[in-house]
Structure formats: structure tokens, C-alpha cells
Symmetry: C2
Subunit: 327 residues, 2 copies
DNA sequence: GAACAATGTGGAATCGATTCCACAATTTGA
DNA sequence: TCAAATTGTGGAATCGATTCCACATTGTTC
């Protein structure tokens, strides 16, 4: 494998001169520069990132920690991240926790040891333990999808989106509206989406039965189960907001099993603009977050931070309602 | 940041001795070993991968090249890969080509420069250009989902799976069976799945109208369009095999638009066991490939190759039919 | 008892790049 | 014309690890 030593010999200069040409730093005569560039081109020489990194302490690698790559939100964000990072010569080192929260902390340590230039956390819960570890490792960090104090973060306007969804139902004449959420330890999906729902209902003078508000987990089966719980009682709602498309799809499958018509007997909406949402029967009303763009923006901010340029600590992505046959 | 020099000073030994302890190589007295281990533990010291790599020429990083991370097959394979690789202290460097074939070759070069220990290609077409480049870069490589001569590859039995699917339709009384495929440059999805279909039909003495065999691309919309083409002619089939779930789902949406009943008017099946397939109406019959396991197996073989242990050049993953309401 | 082997250790060389220092030649300005 | 600044260059030091060599001590075998 060719090294800078070989290039220097071929171009009749020293390694310092080759380095000056490659990095466009310091004085180099035009003659010497041309000779070096010619040799580099004809040999296809590229310097070792490892040797460079040892000296410059930069790796051009960003670590990305996520609970799964198999769902749309994380995979879209990673796509956006990768698109922007590769424009600047950076690569993604993937750290998949497989939903194991402890692994998140382990990966932060591992990525520090691997000297990544920055770390992006996707679909995390920014709890005290995580925030403490983030402060400790002292690497530029971006959190995507969750608020994080004193850390660059890109979020979606969960609160406003759900308020608007709720308003949509009310405008369509619904007064009894149910809600399928997740644990509020997930501030974005669990807390703010619920708060948006409850605040809009209160603002419209509409009450919410305790039995209409269910807590699920992030899978289709638990949406199914939650709808079952909602419909167990006499005072039944006529519409349901689920905090993810998966939960909505699970709920829909329960309704169909019970012979109930969507949206005639129950209107329903989700969040996430999953591909599946489009092909449900009827097609599911949903909120489209700009996940790929969130990834791109996250990449821009972390690069600005790494390269000591001004950055925005907080970005809130826009969203749009996709109104379909389920409402 | 702590280095081996600091550890040596704290433990009252030389850097060589610390290195011997960390790598369990060469003679070290019990006394010295205990002191070093104690200091390493209390400081949380971990050696720089970059410095190690400079000397050992190993990086403990595997490059993964894929056209998209947003679909189920690649994301499941990556999940399986990551699970196995992380057991052995390896990390994944993600290289997403965004369906740009030229980028695949660029990424091979980039990953060589980054001195990854191995490269995994997912959802590629092993054409002559790619195979030439693979020979040239001389890094352990695994191809997943496609056959590749002289390269470790993990495949699915596309041919046999589609023969079995075709037989299933015939056993249910269908004689007029349509096929929605993709370009045959994709040997696995385009060629072998089609060949399985045609061979089984011929073996059963059943003819296939030219208009019943359509070529689509890998998206739902083109499955919709393909079904439109199939139904344009008088002699209509009563069943359709699509080479991916997405194409099947697109076809289904066309049928519904035309007011046709699935499976009464047209039975339909896809391949890929997508999550969506389960929630279609009726639920889609599909072939489940073991994508995560393919990733795990691919990881095992590439690690065996990297570590100069015996490996299998060709693995064929098993599959299972998931028979649902669409047939 | 001597020669050979095993044990244990420290320090230099090495990996491949960048960076800084020293030196020489040339140019500029007073 | 001379001093200072600029231009151009090569080589050593450095980054943080591993590895090998040289040396000293201890143990074993003939």
C-alpha cells in the first residue's frame, strides 16, 4: 500500500512538502505542487485516516445511536443524516441498542473510545442518567426527536401537531375523543402529544373520560389491545387519536374485528406518515414529520459544532396533516 | 485524555508491560499484572483504536454498503449484522448509496481508504463492474441477497420459494397465473424468482400469456400499474405472484379500485414478509426470508474470513410461506 | 558447576500521517 | 546596500499504541 513516503520519493520532494500540497497549507513552489498532484493522481493515493487521526485527533466519523433501524422514523433520520454528512466527507458509525437502554450508555463510552467527532442520538429518552453521561463524555452531541437541555436538539412540534389533529376531529363534529399514548417518560411522544390532546379538549370545553385515555407501547399489538380497553365501557368515544401510526393500525384492526366501521363508528388518526398508513382501509389520517430533513438539519448543526462554527441549539421541524379516509 | 504512558507511570511499569497485560502476550509477573489491571480499572482507560490500528493494521470496523436503509430487507439484515458483529467488538460504518449505483463503487474505494476490516454489500447486483472492483480492492467481502462468484455470499432460495408459491396457487385450482417481476439484471429478485415461476408452470403443463408477465420496479406504484397492464386484456388470470410485497400491495390497491375481490376474483401473493403484508385487507400471503439471520450468518462468515478461520463461501437461507387471506 | 532455557522488564523502533523548527534563497523596503 | 520579510524546503518530533531487541535474573539439565 502506497504511503506519503512513496509519493514524496516519486515527486522528488519531502513528506512535509507532500503534506503541504495535500492540505494546501504553507509555501509550496508551483513546480513542486504540480509534480506532487500528478503523482497523487496517477497512483490514486489517499492518506490513511488512522495515521491522520493520531496526529490531528479528528476521525471524520459520527456515531449514531438508535434503538432500532427497522422502523421508519429512525431509518428516515439516518438517511437524512448520511446524505448531509457524506457531503462533508464524514461517515456514520452505527450503534444499534436493540431497545436496550443500558446499551445506550455503553455505546456512548464506546464511541468516545473510538474517537468519533460527534454523536447523534435518535429516538432516545433524555433522562437524567443519559444527560449526566452526555456531560461527562464531552463530545459534540445532537439529540433528534427529543428535547435536551444544553445539548443541540432537533424536535418536532408534537404538542401543536396533536392540538391540530384534535381540532380536526372536533371540527368534524366529534366530542367524545379517545387517546392512545405511550409512557410519559418519553417526553416527545408520551408527554407532549398527550398534553396537546388534553389541552385542546379543555380549550374546547370537552371532557375526557379516564377510560378513553390508554397507555400502550410502541407496537401494533398494543394499539389493538388499547382500543379493546377503550371500547370495554358503555360511554364510547366516536374518534381516537393514537400517538403513532402503528398504534392506530393496531386499533383499526381491533375495530374491524368488532365489525365497526371506520370512520362511521370510529374515526381514527395516527402520527408518523408510515408507508403502511396509506394502504390501510380506509387510508389512515396521519401527521407527517420531516424525518429526513430532521436528519439533515441535525447533521448541519453537529458539523457546525465540531468545526467550531455558530450553531442552533434548538430546531423545531415543521409537520403537515395528511387527511385521509379514516376521519 | 489518559494514554498508555500515564497508565505505565501509575502502575510503575513500562508501556511494554502495560501492553503485554492488555493484550495478554509475553511474560508479566503477577505483581505487575495486578497493579496494571487495578490502574486500568480505576481510570477506565481504553486504548486508542486509531493508534492501535496504525500499528496492527486492524480497525475492528466493517463497512456496510446498501441502496437504502428505509426498507425492511436491508434494515433487518443490518440489524442481524450489527447484533453479531458487536459480540466480537466490531462496529458498522454505514454507506448508503441512495440507489445510486456509481456510489457503490465510490464507497468501495472510500471504505478501502478507511481501512475497514471487511465490507458487506446488501441488495446489490453483482455485475461485472462490481465484481472487478471487488477483486481489485482485496478486502474480505460478503454479498447478502445475491450470488457472487468467488465471494462469500448469503442468498435466499428465490427459485424454490417461487416454485412453491406457484404450486400453492395451482393446488388451489388456479391455472391462469400472472407474474409481476423486476428487471432480470437483479439475478435474485428479477431472474431466479421469474425462472421459478415459469419452470413450475411448465412442469404443471400450464401456459403463461405474455401479457400476464409484467416487469415493474421496486415500488408500490409500479405494482399498481403492472396489475393495470395485466387486466387490460381479455384473457384474465385468476392469481398473481409479485416478486416483492410492495408490488403485491400496489397490485392489491389497483384491484380494489376496480372493485375486484381478493382472493375471489384474483388471488395474490408477494415476497418479503413486510409488516404491512399482515395488515392488508385481506392479509397478504407472502414468503418470509430470514433477513436478520442472513445478517448474522454474513457477519459470522466475514469475521471468519478476516480472522483467517475456515468459512463457507455460499450460504442459502431457509424461508417459509405465510399463507393468509389473499389466496 | 556450567551451559542453556525460561522468566521478566524497559526502551527503541515502528506504523503513517501532521506540524514545527531550522536553514537557505529570494524579495522588499528603508 | 543592508536588514527584514517572505518564500520554499527537508528533517525531526509528535500523536499512542504494538512489537522486537537487549539485558538481567532465575531455574533447569547435563
Amino acid at each position: 500500500m502506497i504511503t506519503i513516503k512513496d509519493i514524496a520519493e516519486m515527486a522528488n520532494v519531502s513528506r512535509s512538502t507532500v503534506s503541504r500540497v495535500l492540505n494546501d497549507s504553507g509555501y509550496v513552489s508551483e513546480d513542486a505542487r504540480k509534480r506532487v498532484e500528478s503523482v497523487v493522481k496517477e497512483t490514486g493515493y489517499a492518506p490513511s485516516e488512522y495515521a491522520k487521526s493520531l496526529r490531528t485527533k479528528k476521525t471524520k466519523v459520527i456515531g449514531v445511536i438508535l434503538p432500532t433501524i427497522q422502523t421508519e422514523t429512525p431509518s428516515r433520520i439516518v438517511t437524512g443524516l448520511g446524505r448531509e454528512l457524506s457531503k462533508h466527507g464524514y461517515q456514520i458509525l452505527l450503534a444499534n441498542t436493540d431497545h436496550d437502554k443500558e446499551k445506550e450508555l455503553e455505546y456512548l463510552d464506546l464511541l468516545k473510545v473510538r474517537q468519533v467527532d460527534g454523536i447523534v442520538l435518535i429516538a432516545t429518552n433524555a433522562d437524567a442518567k443519559l444527560m449526566k453521561k452526555i456531560k461527562e463524555i464531552n463530545i459534540p452531541i445532537v439529540v433528534i426527536g427529543q428535547e435536551a437541555e444544553d445539548v443541540i436538539h432537533v424536535t418536532y412540534d408534537d404538542y401543536r401537531a396533536v392540538r391540530e389533529l384534535t381540532r380536526l376531529f372536533i371540527q368534524k363534529g366529534h366530542e367524545k375523543i379517545a387517546f392512545i399514548g405511550v409512557d410519559e417518560s418519553d417526553r416527545a411522544v408520551g408527554y407532549y402529544r398527550k398534553k396537546g390532546f388534553l389541552d385542546e379538549m379543555a380549550a374546547q370545553g370537552l371532557s375526557v373520560e379516564k377510560t378513553w385515555v390508554q397507555k400502550a407501547i410502541f407496537d401494533i399489538a398494543s394499539g389493538h389491545e388499547a382500543m379493546g380497553e377503550i371500547l370495554k365501557y358503555a360511554n364510547k368515544p366516536t374518534a381516537t387519536i393514537a400517538v403513532t401510526d402503528r398504534l392506530a393500525i393496531g386499533a383499526m384492526s381491533y375495530l374491524k374485528e368488532q365489525g365497526l366501521e371506520i370512520p362511521t363508528d370510529m374515526a381514527i388518526a395516527g402520527i408518523g406518515a408510515s408507508e403502511m398508513s396509506q394502504y390501510m382501509e380506509p387510508p389512515l389520517t396521519t401527521v407527517d414529520y420531516q424525518n429526513e430533513k430532521a436528519g439533515e438539519e441535525g447533521a448541519k448543526q453537529i458539523l457546525a459544532s465540531i468545526e467550531s462554527r455558530p450553531f442552533q441549539e434548538k430546531l423545531v421541524m415543521d409537520y403537515r396533516l395528511i387527511i385521509r379516509g379514516s376521519v
